[in-house]
Point group: C2
């Protein structure tokens, strides 16, 4: 048995969550429902304009790993913060959930701070994200512990990390170590605009190194440059052993071994959509690692996603195992 | 017309909110429902034991002032943070709510950090607080702007501040300036154990300088060393022009000018009791400053308190004016 069921690599961010309206997004040039990268001066300026906020640990893959830890999975996270107050908050919240977090803190000497994501939630529950990567951008191969990767069943890569300068080298090192020891690799495309920025690199990695692809409708359409969701899913299934396509309120599609399941979403009042895809992936991977059938993993993903969008913040608050039991999936 | 309707002086803290159970409180020597002061090593140790948390600006008087700003009142806050990330969060959240916050940030050279309060919420919604005052402890007379105090209708003092070394001198300076210019002074007793630590000093101030006393049942019983709530309220009414005694689910009592009103609480599902008294005081003071009758101010206080205990965090989330209108108090 390997030490870790799932190890995630991602951008380590603290979410700064505030409510706003559509007009504010427009006035401030913020694209609704997507993630935009901003630099620190823009982050300071934008922060000065938003209303009172709250700070909750975030980061897409970190949310996924926190969900797996919450479920009792053996899991670890690799992502870079600075040795500042936000960095301490980020590390605490992962460890307190039961995940291993040992990425070295970046030194205080540098002027970069721990990354943050200003998440603006509109009345419809949609979240629009402005991310200042800070130190998370500089995760490089030196931060990858090959022994950890060899001891990992599933390596989970966050697509957002394609934006960092040494990301590819870090991913390559982790993939080599994990697959070389018989582990498998999952990736999430993260965001349609992130796919657009890095389509060729994503595609190469998918074809060569990926065992499981997570993507939502917009992301997979962007990846395969088509308007046809079903065609995109099929194209992906021709390249990857496992394809999981999420479609928000319409549930999720799972394609593997020539089969195609559709799993319906759980109807919920959407308070804050942040983390829906992250928790879907966490529950799905936990299910796979625990040996559940793909369709059951998909149902677990939908239940976890519905829990996280029913409250503010992208980390699980309810007891997911109890919810799984209520829905009869475990 | 004075520039400020209400200026509050208090301990500037960021709340670190986490869920826990009764057993954890007992194992860690945390008194349920009260506030205990802890030093930084204990804060670090305790933080390492609690589950995932979220950070939301807090501080008792700061919550009150944020509520008044939310209602559109002309208000300012005086309380000390350091120039660190938590300090920036604290200042942002007050300013973003519309309150004036100009207290100088403490210099980076010192090793003290911005104060924080570890708020542990049990399944019954009760909150147990462990406060590391950090820089907030050192608010002194040099931080009091006499011109601001002269331009203030109501000065609002947080009883918790009696624990700081220069608190009395700072309060005295503020009271002198405010009352000397025709302003009035309100105080909250904050906590029964805080009253026990400083009973004589509280009593002297109440008799000599206070126009309005806020206290909950436990606090006023401790103040007047009796088991009889009604007797304590009457004793206070003999010393202060306005007495407002809150009694959690049993509503509030208002005694002034020989009259005594009882205002019922608004039934609510308690999610997190943090801030109930703070928001009661904020709505009450705003009502007074706007010229509403005492009983109406009490009803506003109960509505605001019921809103803040219905969610996590001690700052208002719903539109309080809309709630007041729904209840027919404005």
């Amino acid at each position: 048995m390997k030490k870790f069921q799932v190890v995630g690599i991602g951008n380590a961010l603290v979410d700064v969550l505030a409510h706003t309206d559509e007009a504010f997004l427009e006035e401030n040039g913020i694209g609704k429902g997507i993630m935009q990268l901003i630099d620190m001066p823009r982050a300071v300026d934008l922060y000065g304009r938003i209303g009172p906020a709250r700070e909750i640990s975030g980061g897409s893959a970190a949310n996924t790993i926190a969900g797996i830890a919450h479920l009792g999975g053996r899991t670890a996270y690799v992502g870079k913060v600075r040795d500042d107050q936000l960095g301490a908050i980020f590390a605490h919240d992962l460890r307190a959930q039961g995940a291993v977090y040992e990425t070295p803190f970046a030194p205080k000497a540098d002027d970069k701070e721990t990354g943050r994501c200003i998440v603006l939630v509109t009345p419809d529950g949609e979240r629009s994200m402005s991310t200042c990567l800070g130190w998370s951008e500089f995760l490089g191969p030196e931060d990858i512990d090959e022994a950890m990767m060899r001891d990992t069943e599933w390596l989970y890569l966050e697509g957002y990390r394609f934006d960092g300068p040494d990301s590819h080298a870090a991913f390559a090192k982790a993939i080599r170590a994990c697959r070389g020891a018989g582990g498998r690799v999952a990736i999430t495309l993260s965001d349609p605009f992130c796919v657009e920025r890095h389509r060729d690199a994503f595609r190469r990695m998918i074809v060569e190194d990926i065992d499981l692809l997570f993507a939502n409708r917009a992301e997979i359409l962007s990846m395969y440059q088509t308007d046809d969701f079903d065609a995109a899913l099929k194209a992906a299934a021709g390249e990857v052993a496992f394809v999981v396509g999420t479609d928000s309120g319409h549930g999720a599609h799972i394609l593997t071994g020539g089969q195609h399941w559709h799993v319906p979403a759980i109807p919920t009042q959407i308070v804050d959509a942040t983390g829906a895809g992250d928790l879907f992936a966490g529950a799905f991977l936990w299910g796979l690692a625990e040996g559940h059938a793909p369709e059951m993993c998909g149902r677990m993903g939908c239940i976890a996603a519905s829990e996280v969008i029913s409250h503010i913040g992208a980390r699980t608050e309810a007891d997911l195992r109890a919810l799984f039991a209520q829905h009869g999936v475990i």
